[in-house]
Amino acid sequence: MIFGFDLGSRYVKLATLAEDSFNFYRYETIEFYKEFGRKEQDSLVIDFARLGFGETGKIISTGYGRNTVQIQGGQDIPEIKAHVYGARWQTGLEDFTLLDLGGQDSKVVLVRKGRLLDFQTNDKCAASSGRYLENMAAVLGITLEELSKYHEDPIDLSSTCAIFGESEIIGKIIEGHSIASLAAGVNYTIFKRIKPMLSQLLCDKIIFTGGVAHNGALKNIVEKEMQVEVIVPQYPQYNGAIGCCVYGGSLLE
Protein backbone atom coordinates (compact mmCIF):
# COMPACT_ATOMS: atom_id res chain seq x y z
CA MET A 1 0.00 0.00 0.00
CA ILE A 2 1.17 3.53 -0.74
CA PHE A 3 0.17 6.39 1.51
CA GLY A 4 0.14 9.86 0.01
CA PHE A 5 -0.22 12.68 2.53
CA ASP A 6 -0.94 16.25 1.56
CA LEU A 7 -0.37 18.22 4.75
CA GLY A 8 -2.47 21.30 4.08
CA SER A 9 -3.05 24.34 6.22
CA ARG A 10 -6.73 23.52 6.66
CA TYR A 11 -6.96 19.78 6.11
CA VAL A 12 -4.62 16.85 5.95
CA LYS A 13 -5.60 14.85 2.88
CA LEU A 14 -4.65 11.23 2.59
CA ALA A 15 -4.84 9.07 -0.50
CA THR A 16 -4.05 5.39 -0.28
CA LEU A 17 -3.24 3.27 -3.25
CA ALA A 18 -3.52 -0.51 -3.23
CA GLU A 19 -3.88 -2.69 -6.27
CA ASP A 20 -4.67 0.19 -8.58
CA SER A 21 -7.44 1.59 -6.49
CA PHE A 22 -7.45 4.79 -4.49
CA ASN A 23 -9.15 5.58 -1.23
CA PHE A 24 -9.41 9.03 0.26
CA TYR A 25 -9.53 10.44 3.78
CA ARG A 26 -9.60 13.95 5.08
CA TYR A 27 -8.78 15.26 8.56
CA GLU A 28 -8.83 18.72 10.09
CA THR A 29 -5.19 19.71 10.28
CA ILE A 30 -5.10 20.52 14.00
CA GLU A 31 -7.16 17.43 14.84
CA PHE A 32 -4.84 15.27 12.80
CA TYR A 33 -1.69 16.37 14.56
CA LYS A 34 -3.36 16.10 17.94
CA GLU A 35 -5.03 12.74 17.44
CA PHE A 36 -2.83 10.77 15.13
CA GLY A 37 0.61 12.31 15.29
CA ARG A 38 3.44 12.27 17.75
CA LYS A 39 6.68 14.14 17.37
CA GLU A 40 9.81 12.10 17.83
CA GLN A 41 13.02 14.06 17.49
CA ASP A 42 12.60 15.87 14.23
CA SER A 43 10.01 13.71 12.63
CA LEU A 44 6.33 13.05 12.91
CA VAL A 45 5.31 9.54 13.81
CA ILE A 46 1.86 8.70 12.52
CA ASP A 47 -0.30 6.29 14.40
CA PHE A 48 -1.54 4.21 11.47
CA ALA A 49 -3.43 1.76 13.69
CA ARG A 50 -5.37 4.63 15.13
CA LEU A 51 -6.12 5.93 11.67
CA GLY A 52 -7.63 2.51 11.05
CA PHE A 53 -4.93 0.90 8.94
CA GLY A 54 -3.79 -2.58 9.81
CA GLU A 55 -0.78 -2.40 7.56
CA THR A 56 1.64 0.33 6.70
CA GLY A 57 3.53 0.85 3.49
CA LYS A 58 5.44 3.35 1.49
CA ILE A 59 4.81 6.91 2.64
CA ILE A 60 5.14 9.98 0.46
CA SER A 61 4.16 13.37 1.78
CA THR A 62 3.93 16.93 0.61
CA GLY A 63 2.31 20.16 1.56
CA TYR A 64 2.61 23.17 3.61
CA GLY A 65 3.60 21.37 6.72
CA ARG A 66 6.41 19.48 5.16
CA ASN A 67 9.00 22.10 5.98
CA THR A 68 8.25 21.77 9.62
CA VAL A 69 7.40 18.09 9.83
CA GLN A 70 8.93 15.13 8.16
CA ILE A 71 6.88 11.98 8.47
CA GLN A 72 8.94 9.20 9.96
CA GLY A 73 9.85 6.58 7.43
CA GLY A 74 8.50 8.72 4.65
CA GLN A 75 9.84 10.72 1.77
CA ASP A 76 8.69 14.23 1.10
CA ILE A 77 8.39 15.84 -2.30
CA PRO A 78 7.89 19.48 -3.29
CA GLU A 79 4.28 20.55 -3.20
CA ILE A 80 4.07 21.82 -6.75
CA LYS A 81 5.62 18.64 -8.04
CA ALA A 82 3.01 16.55 -6.20
CA HIS A 83 0.25 18.62 -7.72
CA VAL A 84 1.63 18.26 -11.21
CA TYR A 85 1.83 14.48 -10.80
CA GLY A 86 -1.71 14.42 -9.46
CA ALA A 87 -3.09 16.52 -12.29
CA ARG A 88 -1.35 14.49 -14.98
CA TRP A 89 -2.59 11.24 -13.51
CA GLN A 90 -6.14 12.43 -13.01
CA THR A 91 -6.58 13.95 -16.45
CA GLY A 92 -4.10 12.14 -18.66
CA LEU A 93 -2.98 15.52 -19.97
CA GLU A 94 0.62 16.59 -20.44
CA ASP A 95 0.21 20.23 -21.50
CA PHE A 96 -1.84 22.43 -19.24
CA THR A 97 -1.99 25.26 -16.78
CA LEU A 98 -2.66 24.04 -13.29
CA LEU A 99 -4.70 26.29 -11.07
CA ASP A 100 -4.67 25.12 -7.48
CA LEU A 101 -6.65 27.09 -4.95
CA GLY A 102 -6.39 25.73 -1.44
CA GLY A 103 -7.19 26.80 2.08
CA GLN A 104 -4.59 29.54 2.21
CA ASP A 105 -2.58 29.25 -0.95
CA SER A 106 -3.06 29.84 -4.61
CA LYS A 107 -0.75 28.45 -7.23
CA VAL A 108 -0.62 28.63 -10.97
CA VAL A 109 1.73 26.22 -12.69
CA LEU A 110 2.58 25.85 -16.34
CA VAL A 111 3.19 22.27 -17.47
CA ARG A 112 4.47 21.32 -20.91
CA LYS A 113 5.13 17.76 -22.01
CA GLY A 114 4.55 16.71 -18.44
CA ARG A 115 7.33 18.95 -17.18
CA LEU A 116 6.99 21.79 -14.75
CA LEU A 117 7.96 24.88 -16.71
CA ASP A 118 7.08 27.89 -14.59
CA PHE A 119 4.88 28.79 -11.67
CA GLN A 120 3.51 31.63 -9.58
CA THR A 121 2.07 31.70 -6.09
CA ASN A 122 0.09 34.25 -4.15
CA ASP A 123 2.06 36.38 -1.80
CA LYS A 124 1.30 36.24 1.90
CA CYS A 125 -2.31 37.09 1.32
CA ALA A 126 -5.26 34.76 1.58
CA ALA A 127 -7.70 36.85 -0.43
CA SER A 128 -7.79 34.35 -3.26
CA SER A 129 -8.13 31.23 -1.20
CA GLY A 130 -10.69 28.96 0.34
CA ARG A 131 -10.44 30.77 3.63
CA TYR A 132 -11.76 33.91 1.99
CA LEU A 133 -14.75 32.05 0.56
CA GLU A 134 -15.54 30.52 3.93
CA ASN A 135 -15.46 33.91 5.62
CA MET A 136 -17.62 35.50 2.99
CA ALA A 137 -20.19 32.69 3.04
CA ALA A 138 -20.43 33.15 6.80
CA VAL A 139 -20.97 36.89 6.45
CA LEU A 140 -23.66 36.31 3.84
CA GLY A 141 -25.23 33.64 6.01
CA ILE A 142 -25.18 30.98 3.28
CA THR A 143 -23.35 27.69 2.80
CA LEU A 144 -20.31 27.30 0.60
CA GLU A 145 -22.41 25.20 -1.79
CA GLU A 146 -24.89 28.02 -2.12
CA LEU A 147 -22.13 30.57 -2.62
CA SER A 148 -20.70 28.44 -5.42
CA LYS A 149 -23.79 28.78 -7.57
CA TYR A 150 -23.62 32.40 -8.61
CA HIS A 151 -21.57 34.11 -11.23
CA GLU A 152 -23.98 36.44 -12.96
CA ASP A 153 -24.47 40.14 -12.31
CA PRO A 154 -21.69 40.43 -9.73
CA ILE A 155 -21.38 43.42 -7.46
CA ASP A 156 -18.02 45.11 -7.58
CA LEU A 157 -15.78 44.48 -4.60
CA SER A 158 -12.41 46.17 -4.40
CA SER A 159 -10.86 42.87 -3.39
CA THR A 160 -7.76 44.10 -1.68
CA CYS A 161 -7.94 42.08 1.47
CA ALA A 162 -9.81 39.10 2.87
CA ILE A 163 -10.47 40.90 6.12
CA PHE A 164 -11.46 44.32 4.77
CA GLY A 165 -13.57 42.47 2.23
CA GLU A 166 -15.90 41.55 5.06
CA SER A 167 -16.80 45.08 6.03
CA GLU A 168 -17.07 45.99 2.39
CA ILE A 169 -19.62 43.29 1.76
CA ILE A 170 -21.59 44.23 4.84
CA GLY A 171 -21.90 47.69 3.30
CA LYS A 172 -23.21 46.12 0.10
CA ILE A 173 -25.74 44.03 2.02
CA ILE A 174 -27.07 47.22 3.56
CA GLU A 175 -27.38 48.74 0.10
CA GLY A 176 -29.84 45.95 -0.65
CA HIS A 177 -28.12 43.86 -3.33
CA SER A 178 -29.44 40.35 -3.88
CA ILE A 179 -27.64 37.39 -2.39
CA ALA A 180 -27.02 36.16 -5.94
CA SER A 181 -25.20 39.35 -6.90
CA LEU A 182 -23.28 39.45 -3.67
CA ALA A 183 -22.17 35.85 -4.02
CA ALA A 184 -21.23 36.40 -7.65
CA GLY A 185 -19.20 39.41 -6.54
CA VAL A 186 -17.33 37.28 -4.03
CA ASN A 187 -16.55 34.67 -6.67
CA TYR A 188 -15.39 37.34 -9.09
CA THR A 189 -13.09 38.75 -6.47
CA ILE A 190 -11.20 35.49 -6.39
CA PHE A 191 -10.91 35.56 -10.12
CA LYS A 192 -9.53 39.10 -10.12
CA ARG A 193 -6.81 38.06 -7.73
CA ILE A 194 -5.65 35.12 -9.79
CA LYS A 195 -6.08 36.69 -13.22
CA PRO A 196 -2.58 38.23 -13.39
CA MET A 197 -1.00 34.87 -12.51
CA LEU A 198 -3.21 33.00 -14.97
CA SER A 199 -2.58 35.45 -17.78
CA GLN A 200 1.14 34.97 -17.54
CA LEU A 201 1.06 31.21 -17.56
CA LEU A 202 -1.97 30.53 -19.68
CA CYS A 203 -2.38 27.63 -22.05
CA ASP A 204 -5.49 26.32 -23.78
CA LYS A 205 -6.46 24.00 -20.95
CA ILE A 206 -6.66 24.80 -17.28
CA ILE A 207 -6.80 22.04 -14.70
CA PHE A 208 -8.47 23.41 -11.63
CA THR A 209 -7.71 21.70 -8.31
CA GLY A 210 -7.78 22.33 -4.57
CA GLY A 211 -10.83 22.64 -2.37
CA VAL A 212 -11.95 25.80 -4.16
CA ALA A 213 -12.34 23.84 -7.40
CA HIS A 214 -15.68 22.65 -5.98
CA ASN A 215 -16.88 26.17 -6.64
CA GLY A 216 -18.69 25.78 -9.95
CA ALA A 217 -19.32 29.49 -10.35
CA LEU A 218 -15.63 30.19 -10.27
CA LYS A 219 -15.02 27.54 -12.90
CA ASN A 220 -17.56 29.28 -15.12
CA ILE A 221 -15.99 32.65 -14.53
CA VAL A 222 -12.49 31.45 -15.39
CA GLU A 223 -13.80 29.74 -18.51
CA LYS A 224 -15.70 32.78 -19.65
CA GLU A 225 -13.05 35.36 -18.87
CA MET A 226 -9.97 33.47 -20.02
CA GLN A 227 -11.70 31.83 -22.99
CA VAL A 228 -10.17 28.43 -22.35
CA GLU A 229 -11.41 25.05 -21.26
CA VAL A 230 -11.37 24.48 -17.51
CA ILE A 231 -11.17 20.90 -16.32
CA VAL A 232 -11.95 19.96 -12.75
CA PRO A 233 -10.67 16.43 -12.15
CA GLN A 234 -12.71 13.93 -10.20
CA TYR A 235 -10.90 14.53 -6.90
CA PRO A 236 -9.73 18.15 -6.94
CA GLN A 237 -9.07 18.33 -3.23
CA TYR A 238 -7.03 15.13 -3.17
CA ASN A 239 -4.89 16.08 -6.13
CA GLY A 240 -1.72 16.59 -4.10
CA ALA A 241 -2.23 13.38 -2.14
CA ILE A 242 -2.89 11.46 -5.34
CA GLY A 243 0.28 12.98 -6.80
CA CYS A 244 2.24 11.59 -3.87
CA CYS A 245 0.92 8.09 -4.54
CA VAL A 246 1.56 8.42 -8.26
CA TYR A 247 5.11 9.47 -7.53
CA GLY A 248 5.61 6.76 -4.94
CA GLY A 249 4.27 4.06 -7.21
CA SER A 250 6.10 5.37 -10.29
CA LEU A 251 2.80 5.30 -12.12
CA LEU A 252 3.90 7.87 -14.65
CA GLU A 253 6.93 7.42 -16.95
Partner: protein, 324 residues
Protein backbone atom coordinates in the same frame (compact mmCIF):
# COMPACT_ATOMS: atom_id res chain seq x y z
CA UNK B 1 38.96 58.81 13.88
CA UNK B 2 35.46 59.92 13.08
CA UNK B 3 32.95 57.33 11.92
CA UNK B 4 30.84 58.36 8.94
CA UNK B 5 27.62 56.46 8.31
CA UNK B 6 26.79 55.54 4.71
CA UNK B 7 23.43 54.27 3.45
CA UNK B 8 24.88 52.37 0.51
CA UNK B 9 28.11 52.21 -1.50
CA UNK B 10 29.54 55.65 -2.22
CA UNK B 11 33.07 56.69 -3.21
CA UNK B 12 34.59 55.59 0.10
CA UNK B 13 38.02 56.61 -1.17
CA UNK B 14 37.05 60.14 -0.15
CA UNK B 15 36.23 59.16 3.42
CA UNK B 16 39.41 57.15 3.85
CA UNK B 17 41.41 60.07 2.37
CA UNK B 18 40.06 62.27 5.13
CA UNK B 19 41.23 59.81 7.74
CA UNK B 20 37.65 58.93 8.69
CA UNK B 21 36.05 55.48 8.97
CA UNK B 22 33.10 54.67 6.73
CA UNK B 23 30.38 52.56 8.31
CA UNK B 24 27.85 50.87 6.06
CA UNK B 25 24.72 51.17 8.14
CA UNK B 26 23.09 48.22 6.39
CA UNK B 27 25.84 45.94 7.57
CA UNK B 28 25.64 46.90 11.20
CA UNK B 29 21.88 46.71 11.14
CA UNK B 30 21.74 43.23 9.69
CA UNK B 31 24.55 41.81 11.82
CA UNK B 32 23.06 43.23 15.04
CA UNK B 33 22.04 40.72 17.65
CA UNK B 34 18.35 41.21 17.02
CA UNK B 35 17.79 43.11 13.78
CA UNK B 36 14.04 42.46 13.88
CA UNK B 37 13.83 44.42 17.12
CA UNK B 38 15.52 47.39 15.45
CA UNK B 39 12.83 47.39 12.79
CA UNK B 40 10.13 47.27 15.44
CA UNK B 41 11.71 50.14 17.29
CA UNK B 42 11.49 52.34 14.22
CA UNK B 43 7.82 51.43 13.94
CA UNK B 44 7.29 52.45 17.54
CA UNK B 45 8.87 55.77 16.65
CA UNK B 46 6.21 56.16 13.98
CA UNK B 47 7.62 54.56 10.84
CA UNK B 48 4.78 53.03 8.80
CA UNK B 49 4.41 49.27 8.60
CA UNK B 50 4.42 49.27 4.82
CA UNK B 51 7.89 50.72 4.41
CA UNK B 52 11.01 48.74 3.63
CA UNK B 53 12.59 47.13 6.69
CA UNK B 54 16.10 48.18 5.64
CA UNK B 55 15.15 51.83 6.01
CA UNK B 56 13.66 51.22 9.44
CA UNK B 57 16.64 49.20 10.52
CA UNK B 58 19.05 51.93 9.46
CA UNK B 59 17.06 54.54 11.31
CA UNK B 60 17.35 52.75 14.63
CA UNK B 61 20.94 51.73 13.93
CA UNK B 62 22.07 55.35 13.55
CA UNK B 63 20.31 56.40 16.73
CA UNK B 64 21.73 53.47 18.65
CA UNK B 65 25.32 54.20 17.58
CA UNK B 66 25.88 57.57 19.12
CA UNK B 67 29.42 57.91 17.80
CA UNK B 68 27.97 58.33 14.31
CA UNK B 69 27.15 62.01 13.96
CA UNK B 70 27.37 62.40 10.20
CA UNK B 71 25.69 60.28 7.54
CA UNK B 72 26.24 60.34 3.80
CA UNK B 73 22.87 59.80 2.20
CA UNK B 74 22.54 58.63 -1.39
CA UNK B 75 19.64 60.76 -2.51
CA UNK B 76 19.66 59.62 -6.11
CA UNK B 77 20.47 56.20 -7.46
CA UNK B 78 19.43 54.22 -4.44
CA UNK B 79 16.14 54.77 -2.76
CA UNK B 80 13.73 57.63 -2.41
CA UNK B 81 12.87 56.44 1.09
CA UNK B 82 16.32 57.70 2.00
CA UNK B 83 15.04 61.27 1.77
CA UNK B 84 12.56 60.86 4.58
CA UNK B 85 14.99 58.66 6.48
CA UNK B 86 17.48 61.50 6.44
CA UNK B 87 14.89 64.02 7.49
CA UNK B 88 13.88 61.91 10.47
CA UNK B 89 17.54 61.54 11.42
CA UNK B 90 18.17 65.24 10.90
CA UNK B 91 15.65 66.19 13.56
CA UNK B 92 17.51 63.85 15.89
CA UNK B 93 20.62 65.98 15.43
CA UNK B 94 22.45 63.93 12.78
CA UNK B 95 24.29 65.88 10.10
CA UNK B 96 23.33 64.75 6.60
CA UNK B 97 25.69 64.88 3.62
CA UNK B 98 23.78 64.23 0.38
CA UNK B 99 25.29 62.36 -2.56
CA UNK B 100 23.62 61.76 -5.91
CA UNK B 101 24.47 59.28 -8.67
CA UNK B 102 23.25 60.98 -11.87
CA UNK B 103 20.55 58.82 -13.50
CA UNK B 104 22.05 59.22 -16.98
CA UNK B 105 25.59 58.29 -15.80
CA UNK B 106 26.89 61.66 -16.93
CA UNK B 107 30.64 61.83 -16.29
CA UNK B 108 30.82 65.51 -15.42
CA UNK B 109 27.82 65.42 -13.10
CA UNK B 110 29.27 62.48 -11.25
CA UNK B 111 32.65 64.14 -11.02
CA UNK B 112 30.98 67.21 -9.57
CA UNK B 113 29.24 65.11 -6.94
CA UNK B 114 32.48 63.47 -5.93
CA UNK B 115 34.20 66.84 -5.76
CA UNK B 116 31.46 68.21 -3.54
CA UNK B 117 32.01 65.29 -1.23
CA UNK B 118 35.76 65.94 -1.30
CA UNK B 119 35.10 69.52 -0.34
CA UNK B 120 33.06 68.51 2.68
CA UNK B 121 35.90 66.28 3.82
CA UNK B 122 38.66 68.71 2.82
CA UNK B 123 40.65 66.36 0.59
CA UNK B 124 42.14 66.70 -2.90
CA UNK B 125 42.34 64.41 -5.94
CA UNK B 126 45.84 63.29 -5.13
CA UNK B 127 44.82 62.00 -1.71
CA UNK B 128 41.78 60.30 -3.17
CA UNK B 129 43.84 58.62 -5.91
CA UNK B 130 46.17 57.28 -3.26
CA UNK B 131 43.25 55.71 -1.43
CA UNK B 132 41.95 54.21 -4.63
CA UNK B 133 45.28 52.43 -5.04
CA UNK B 134 45.10 51.25 -1.45
CA UNK B 135 41.55 49.95 -1.74
CA UNK B 136 42.05 48.40 -5.16
CA UNK B 137 44.67 46.15 -3.63
CA UNK B 138 42.08 44.86 -1.21
CA UNK B 139 39.45 44.63 -3.92
CA UNK B 140 41.77 42.48 -6.00
CA UNK B 141 41.71 39.85 -3.28
CA UNK B 142 37.94 39.86 -3.26
CA UNK B 143 37.83 39.59 -7.04
CA UNK B 144 39.91 36.48 -6.68
CA UNK B 145 37.49 35.17 -4.07
CA UNK B 146 34.65 35.73 -6.51
CA UNK B 147 36.53 33.97 -9.26
CA UNK B 148 37.20 31.00 -7.02
CA UNK B 149 33.48 30.85 -6.29
CA UNK B 150 32.39 30.30 -9.85
CA UNK B 151 35.44 28.72 -11.39
CA UNK B 152 36.40 26.26 -8.69
CA UNK B 153 33.36 26.04 -6.42
CA UNK B 154 35.83 26.58 -3.61
CA UNK B 155 34.09 29.48 -1.90
CA UNK B 156 30.51 29.11 -0.71
CA UNK B 157 27.72 31.30 -2.00
CA UNK B 158 27.32 32.80 1.44
CA UNK B 159 30.99 33.73 1.80
CA UNK B 160 30.89 35.14 -1.69
CA UNK B 161 27.98 37.30 -0.61
CA UNK B 162 29.51 38.27 2.71
CA UNK B 163 32.98 39.35 1.64
CA UNK B 164 31.77 41.20 -1.42
CA UNK B 165 29.05 43.04 0.45
CA UNK B 166 31.62 44.17 2.98
CA UNK B 167 33.49 46.03 0.25
CA UNK B 168 31.09 48.95 0.66
CA UNK B 169 33.10 50.06 3.70
CA UNK B 170 35.83 47.39 4.05
CA UNK B 171 34.63 46.91 7.56
CA UNK B 172 36.29 50.18 8.53
CA UNK B 173 39.78 48.70 8.23
CA UNK B 174 40.86 47.69 4.71
CA UNK B 175 44.10 45.96 5.67
CA UNK B 176 42.54 43.89 8.43
CA UNK B 177 39.69 43.02 6.10
CA UNK B 178 42.20 41.97 3.44
CA UNK B 179 43.76 39.58 5.93
CA UNK B 180 40.39 37.99 6.61
CA UNK B 181 39.82 37.54 2.91
CA UNK B 182 43.28 36.07 2.55
CA UNK B 183 42.52 33.54 5.27
CA UNK B 184 39.36 32.46 3.47
CA UNK B 185 41.27 32.14 0.22
CA UNK B 186 43.93 30.02 1.83
CA UNK B 187 41.36 27.68 3.29
CA UNK B 188 39.49 27.23 0.04
CA UNK B 189 40.01 24.01 -1.83
CA UNK B 190 38.59 23.44 -5.29
CA UNK B 191 35.64 21.08 -5.47
CA UNK B 192 35.09 18.95 -8.54
CA UNK B 193 32.13 20.18 -10.52
CA UNK B 194 29.20 18.18 -9.22
CA UNK B 195 25.64 18.09 -10.46
CA UNK B 196 24.67 21.10 -8.40
CA UNK B 197 22.40 23.71 -9.85
CA UNK B 198 24.30 26.92 -10.51
CA UNK B 199 22.36 29.98 -9.48
CA UNK B 200 22.79 33.70 -9.72
CA UNK B 201 21.39 36.03 -7.10
CA UNK B 202 20.32 39.48 -8.25
CA UNK B 203 18.79 42.43 -6.46
CA UNK B 204 19.57 44.00 -3.12
CA UNK B 205 21.20 41.69 -0.57
CA UNK B 206 18.74 39.37 1.17
CA UNK B 207 17.23 40.32 4.50
CA UNK B 208 16.70 36.69 5.49
CA UNK B 209 19.76 35.13 6.95
CA UNK B 210 19.52 31.53 5.85
CA UNK B 211 18.85 31.70 2.12
CA UNK B 212 22.28 30.53 0.96
CA UNK B 213 22.36 27.75 3.50
CA UNK B 214 18.95 26.49 2.44
CA UNK B 215 19.86 26.53 -1.25
CA UNK B 216 22.99 24.55 -0.57
CA UNK B 217 21.08 22.03 1.45
CA UNK B 218 18.81 21.54 -1.54
CA UNK B 219 21.66 20.92 -3.96
CA UNK B 220 22.01 24.39 -5.45
CA UNK B 221 24.91 26.81 -5.28
CA UNK B 222 24.96 30.55 -5.71
CA UNK B 223 27.95 31.39 -7.88
CA UNK B 224 27.01 34.94 -8.72
CA UNK B 225 25.89 37.71 -6.40
CA UNK B 226 25.09 40.66 -8.57
CA UNK B 227 24.91 43.74 -6.38
CA UNK B 228 27.42 42.42 -3.88
CA UNK B 229 29.90 41.93 -6.70
CA UNK B 230 29.26 45.47 -7.89
CA UNK B 231 30.27 46.68 -4.44
CA UNK B 232 33.77 45.37 -5.21
CA UNK B 233 34.10 47.63 -8.26
CA UNK B 234 35.26 44.85 -10.57
CA UNK B 235 36.38 47.22 -13.30
CA UNK B 236 39.84 47.75 -14.67
CA UNK B 237 40.08 51.53 -14.61
CA UNK B 238 42.43 53.89 -12.90
CA UNK B 239 39.92 56.72 -13.19
CA UNK B 240 37.87 57.02 -10.02
CA UNK B 241 34.98 58.82 -11.70
CA UNK B 242 34.83 56.19 -14.41
CA UNK B 243 34.87 53.50 -11.74
CA UNK B 244 31.69 54.83 -10.17
CA UNK B 245 30.20 55.28 -13.60
CA UNK B 246 30.77 51.64 -14.51
CA UNK B 247 29.28 50.60 -11.18
CA UNK B 248 25.79 49.41 -12.18
CA UNK B 249 23.65 49.41 -9.06
CA UNK B 250 22.65 53.11 -8.85
CA UNK B 251 21.77 53.47 -12.51
CA UNK B 252 18.95 52.15 -14.65
CA UNK B 253 17.88 48.52 -14.86
CA UNK B 254 19.06 48.08 -18.45
CA UNK B 255 22.61 48.94 -17.47
CA UNK B 256 22.38 46.36 -14.70
CA UNK B 257 20.91 43.78 -17.07
CA UNK B 258 23.87 44.05 -19.42
CA UNK B 259 26.15 43.05 -16.58
CA UNK B 260 23.81 40.29 -15.39
CA UNK B 261 23.42 38.78 -18.85
CA UNK B 262 27.18 38.73 -19.39
CA UNK B 263 27.76 36.99 -16.07
CA UNK B 264 25.02 34.41 -16.74
CA UNK B 265 26.93 33.45 -19.87
CA UNK B 266 30.36 33.54 -18.32
CA UNK B 267 29.44 31.65 -15.16
CA UNK B 268 27.17 29.19 -16.87
CA UNK B 269 24.18 29.85 -14.65
CA UNK B 270 21.07 27.66 -14.78
CA UNK B 271 18.72 30.08 -13.13
CA UNK B 272 18.41 33.41 -11.37
CA UNK B 273 16.92 34.30 -8.03
CA UNK B 274 15.66 37.83 -8.10
CA UNK B 275 15.26 39.12 -4.60
CA UNK B 276 12.77 41.88 -4.03
CA UNK B 277 12.39 43.63 -0.73
CA UNK B 278 8.78 44.12 0.37
CA UNK B 279 7.58 47.63 -0.39
CA UNK B 280 10.62 48.41 -2.54
CA UNK B 281 10.14 50.17 -5.87
CA UNK B 282 12.69 47.81 -7.40
CA UNK B 283 10.02 45.11 -7.25
CA UNK B 284 8.44 46.75 -10.29
CA UNK B 285 11.59 46.05 -12.31
CA UNK B 286 10.88 42.35 -11.92
CA UNK B 287 8.69 42.44 -14.99
CA UNK B 288 11.56 43.78 -17.09
CA UNK B 289 14.01 41.32 -15.61
CA UNK B 290 11.74 38.38 -16.43
CA UNK B 291 11.31 39.57 -19.95
CA UNK B 292 14.96 40.23 -20.65
CA UNK B 293 16.82 37.35 -19.06
CA UNK B 294 17.22 34.12 -20.97
CA UNK B 295 17.23 31.77 -17.96
CA UNK B 296 14.39 30.92 -15.54
CA UNK B 297 13.87 33.52 -12.83
CA UNK B 298 12.45 32.96 -9.36
CA UNK B 299 11.36 36.11 -7.60
CA UNK B 300 11.61 35.95 -3.84
CA UNK B 301 10.23 38.55 -1.56
CA UNK B 302 11.51 39.25 1.91
CA UNK B 303 10.12 41.60 4.48
CA UNK B 304 11.70 41.32 7.91
CA UNK B 305 15.04 39.96 9.04
CA UNK B 306 13.85 36.48 9.92
CA UNK B 307 14.51 33.01 8.59
CA UNK B 308 12.91 31.70 5.40
CA UNK B 309 9.23 30.96 5.79
CA UNK B 310 7.51 27.78 4.64
CA UNK B 311 6.03 29.39 1.57
CA UNK B 312 9.35 30.73 0.36
CA UNK B 313 10.92 27.33 0.88
CA UNK B 314 8.13 25.72 -1.10
CA UNK B 315 8.73 28.13 -3.95
CA UNK B 316 12.47 27.51 -3.91
CA UNK B 317 11.90 23.75 -3.99
CA UNK B 318 9.62 24.05 -7.00
CA UNK B 319 12.08 26.32 -8.79
CA UNK B 320 14.97 23.93 -8.28
CA UNK B 321 12.71 21.21 -9.56
CA UNK B 322 12.20 23.15 -12.76
CA UNK B 323 15.94 23.54 -13.21
CA UNK B 324 16.70 19.90 -12.61
Amino acid sequence: MEKIGITTTIPVEVIYAAGCIPVDLNNIFITAENPAALVEEAELAGYPRNICAWIKGIYTTVLANREIRRVIAVTQGDCSNTHALMETLHIQGIEIIPFAFPYDRDYDMLKLQIEKLMQVFGVDWEQVAEQKKRLDKVREKVWLLDEKTWRENSVSGFNNHLYQVMCSDFNGNPELFAQEVKAVLEKSTPLPAGDEIRLGYIGVPPIMTDLYEYLEKKGARVVFNEVQRQFTMPFATSDLVEQYRLYTYPYNIFWRLQDIAAEIEKRNLHGIIHYAQSFCYRHIQDLIIRKELKVPVLTLEGDRPVRLDARTKMRIDAFLDILR
